[in-house]
Amino acid sequence: MNRQAALSQSAALPKPRIGFGGISLILFMSLAAASWDFILSDKDSGFASFFRVETWAGAGAFLTRFLGVNGAEPPAYLRRERWADMVGPAYETLAMSLLAASMVGIGVLVTFMPAARNVAMGELSASHSFSSRILFFLIRSVYIFVRGVPELVWAMLIIFFLSPGILPGAVALGLHNFGIVGKLSAEVVENLDPRPARALRAAGASQLQMLAYAILPMALPGFLTYLLYRWEVIIRTTIVVGFVGAGGLGREFRLSMSWFQYTDVALLLAVYLFLVIFVDLCSAWMRKLAR
């Protein structure tokens, strides 16, 4: 084979693959068409109102009230004492997110290894014991159920028996994300190179020793990365969970909305955005440390 032909082969464009992905895309598009049709054809879908002048005038009015122009008093985000008032709720919100992330971390560390297929029933298990299979299915089912229920619904359920505060919010966020990080971490274990673990077993290690010396150290960076990514999502969801009573900035948000104090809402959103940026930066820094 001459060199020219070999070079051009390596630079050749891969053939675009259709097949299953394409069929799914077509299915999705038909679903999308059906969805739009359903929404638009509904008489009181309000779609028509979207194009009426009154709607946009109303939106404009809201925007001016939101930004506080032409207001009776100066807007909240320009008053220092209102910023000071927000420190407490912001502190609570950050604490809520950390509490939730800690719960996720501890919960996943305890459960993710038996939840990996290769540990429970594959190449890394001592034997295909019945109990390890059951444990695998049990943990995976808990993961699925717990992440199938949205955080908001969990919060509403937990508010039942925990007094409003940051704890119910943290538990709700922690439960939901426990399922997500658990599944992702188990997949990290499933994708690990089995050779170091097998070498340890050959050296005489038991199943548990192998988990502690090979699996855990090798899976830890991946687990931490997923945990820190989810922390970024958690901080964004605290405002939602706070709305149903969990406290922090979310509660303030609901109060301000119900009192029509829109400039306070603007201030809250600004504080909230600062929190989000702060957490994003911390998460990125910690993820770099985890490598």
């Binding site: 050959a202 005489g204 290690a205 090979a214 090798m218």
Partner: protein
């Protein structure tokens, strides 16, 4: 020490080992040579109890391998070194070395050792023997390939099995490092009186450092002789160098 009788191993792709009989005495140093795909790894895995033969019997010190129930018993008899990926890259060297003792330690001690390393002096001694005393607390992934292989040897020393099996231990190393490592391995085995069975693709290393060479080709035993008795023509036939030379000329 090892006795293989009419051992056969078949894989879906074909026969890996034809009926093979082999006896290795305690304290011997045997090199297994042969081209790729000749069954060297399969033979080592059979001796090491990693896989079971389809026919025939393997025994260690008179006891049949298939009768050994526990991995820990096997670990006292046989220690294995691979070409790569034996060690956990994220752990410090000391933990990888101490891992050789996991077969003797209980769970609590093993877990405690991850935070407060137990038997540190023994680990230091093992690392001294392989020439890496200053790497005790370094992260294993930071070491070079040759250094990592020496850590693997240190781990086997901690494990203190009766025999050491090495599967292409120097294949990933450059010739100078490879020779250093083979010299180290054979010296250690000799000085501690351990049996050593190693597959090698470098014939010069096999002839220089091992007393006995077993030649495998296509899963069959070609020869089993003291190193000095192996001739060039035997090696050519083993690796089919004659045929290769013809191919090169045509090209």
């Amino acid at each position: 020490m090892f006795m293989l009788q009419e051992v056969t191993k078949r894989y879906p792709q074909g026969v890996a080992l034809a009926p093979l009989s082999l006896a290795i005495n305690a304290g011997e140093q045997v090199a297994i040579a042969g081209p790729s795909g000749s069954g060297k790894t399969t033979l080592l895995h059979l001796i090491g109890g990693v896989i079971q033969p389809d026919a025939g019997d393997i025994s260690i010190d008179g006891r049949s391998l298939s009768r050994l129930r526990s991995g820990r018993e096997l670990a006292r008899l046989v220690g294995v070194i691979h070409q790569q990926h034996d060690l956990v890259p994220h752990l410090a060297v000391i933990h990888n070395v101490l891992a050789g003792r996991l077969g003797e330690w209980g769970l609590m001690k093993s877990l405690l050792s991850l935070v407060f390393p137990q038997e540190r002096d023994a680990a230091l001694r093992a690392l001294n023997q392989v020439g890496l005393p200053d790497k005790l607390y370094q992260r294993t992934s930071q070491l070079s390939g040759g250094e990592q292989q020496r850590v693997a040897i240190a781990r086997v020393l901690m494990q203190a099995p009766q025999a050491i099996l090495a599967d292409e231990p120097v294949a990933s190393l450059d010739p100078a490092r490879a020779e250093d490592l083979v010299r180290l391995l054979t010296q250690l085995a000799l000085s501690t009186g351990r049996t050593l069975v190693s597959s090698l693709h470098s014939i010069e290393l096999a002839r220089t450092y091992f007393q006995r060479i077993v030649g495998l080709r296509n899963g069959e035993l070609q020869f089993d002789l003291p190193a000095a008795a192996v001739t060039v023509s035997m090696l050519e036939r083993l690796y089919d160098l004659q045929g290769l030379r013809d191919e090169v000329e045509v090209y």
